[in-house]
Amino acid sequence: MIETRGLRKSYRSRAGRETKTVDAVRGVNLDVAAGEIFGFLGPNGAGKTTTLRMLATLIEPDGGEATVAGADLRKNPAEVRRRIGYVAQGGSTWDESSAREELVLQARLYGIGKAEAHRRAERALEAFQLAEYADRKTKTYSGGQRRRVEIALGIIHEPKIVFLDEPTTGLDPQSRAHMWDEIRRLRTEGMTVFITTHYLDEADALCDRIAIMDHGEVVAEGTPAELKREISGEVVIVGLDAATTPRAAELFDTEAYVSKLETVDEGGLRLYVDEGATAIPQVLRRLDHAGLDLRSIELHRPSLDDVFLTKTGRSLRES
């Protein structure tokens, strides 16, 4: 549905007298399949929004090629516009207009006739649970309601792909969960959804596949499960008394299923294993056998943050 090869964009920025070129996006290759929710993950300033805006025809790429919804991005941007929807990060509704007015106008800008535009607006208001406030000015809406109007605006013309730029940023947890359901509903309706986010849990829970972007490049791509699997194994954290820790360390050092072992300062061990589910019973048996008292045991599965850490050398939470 989206295919890019070597997509590039650089900006000239001026600091004092010097002008320097900032490579915002340096050769991005992406393949997004029809009907999936594709997550574009990365810290602020990684080039996510620039890439998205290029794919949505808002800025012209400096180089590379892209096909979006079957149309050539660089040769035929007008056709791309007809086939995609785009929901910007900073909002897109006018305070003094109502949701209905905005929806009707948006549909008409896509060349849809008046009667049909009104029908579609009505349907969108129902689908996004906005009917109650349909004729109120959007400045009276809550953040979540406003965001729903914006998504409804982005898909009023039934595009093949919809681009959502950080759709849940700034929403409270409840509205966020609600928004995830809305996004899943778009996929059910056969749309391809391309979202950017810097929330790892969002990418993990919502996306079928993700690409991680850092410093203008895609550093990893795959399903969340695949990416996590690439990070070697899982960690069993065993809580022990400080006094018994050295003995326990000796015990597990020789076990074949433990690939690496670290001691925890306040007492306990971190055991790196391939699969926690099979390792834990063996660990418990071994400790029991040796008569060592266990204070706690927990399993740490690699998160997308660990993936990010491995790929970029820093944590996404820090950046």
């Binding site: 808002l58 800025i59 012209e60 897109s92 006018w94 007015e101």
Partner: protein, 251 residues
């Protein structure tokens, strides 16, 4: 066809929003009305005009041109608010014509200017101003072209600078000399030779002279077609340039 349809959609939307707050039309007309009521009465003795009506024939056209220039130049502020709200970006991802994004807005400005011009003309009629209706309509055409040009230029600049803080001083810097060099408040016939020479290069001074000739019933005056011609060419250039700014990437 598509251009006409798109322009109509944008025009409709903008007009609807304006009519929701019609007070702005009256705010815009407030200053010229004050000039008309509190400044114009000084003119009969000052200009040595034979009657009050003769003084108004000189002053009212200038006042209307002033209204068209300023009314247009300050439209960019509204656009910056729309930019910030993301409305422009939202329009730009649709296949809507870029020229229509500009024209729809500028035509709204032209219509609201003509409404204001009618208010001023009606008030002036109360002060014994008399104008032949055909000439008045031609004068309104001149005003419409001026407003089309100034509002288009204002939108173009707003898209470039993207902030009110930059737009306000810029517009004032442009508007002041343009205003003083066009003989709007007093005819430039009073000006010393060098000032008249400089004013020759100001297209608005041609527009003002043309409009005055129309109010004076002097349809055959060369300044009429010259003024209309100059302003029409500039309006076309302004619209062309500003539409390109809409097509370019803006945030």
């Amino acid at each position: 066809m598509k251009l006409a349809r798109d322009t109509w959609l944008i025009f409709q939307r903008q007009t609807q929003l304006l009519l929701r707050n019609p007070v702005w039309i009256f705010v815009g007309v407030f200053q010229p009305v004050m000039y008309l009521l509190l400044f114009a009465p000084l003119l009969k003795p000052a200009l040595n005009a034979p009657t009050q009506a003769a003084a108004y024939k000189i002053f009212v056209p200038g006042l209307l041109v002033l209204l068209a220039i300023f009314g247009g130049l300050f439209q960019g502020f509204g656009l910056i608010a729309e930019l910030r709200a993301g409305v422009i970006e939202r329009s730009r991802v649709t296949p809507v014509s870029r020229l229509a994004l500009l024209l729809g807005r500028s035509l709204r400005d032209v219509v609201s200017l003509i409404a204001q011009a009618i208010i001023i003309t009606l008030l002036a009629l109360a002060f014994d101003l008399r104008v032949f209706i055909g000439n008045l309509l031609l004068a309104y055409l001149m005003l419409a072209l001026i407003a089309l040009m100034t509002s288009a230029v204002s939108y173009g600049i707003a898209l470039k600078v993207k902030s009110e803080d930059a737009l306000a001083p810029l517009m004032n810097t442009v508007a002041q000399p343009v205003l003083l060099l066009s003989g709007i408040l007093l005819p430039l016939t009073f000006a010393p030779g060098w000032l008249q020479g400089v004013a020759k290069w100001n297209p608005f001074s041609w527009a003002v002279e043309g409009t005055r000739a129309l109010f004076n019933g002097d349809l055959g005056n060369d300044r009429v077609w010259q003024g209309l011609g100059i302003i029409a060419v500039l309006a076309a250039a302004g619209v062309f340039w500003a539409a390109r700014q809409f097509a370019r990437s803006v945030r």
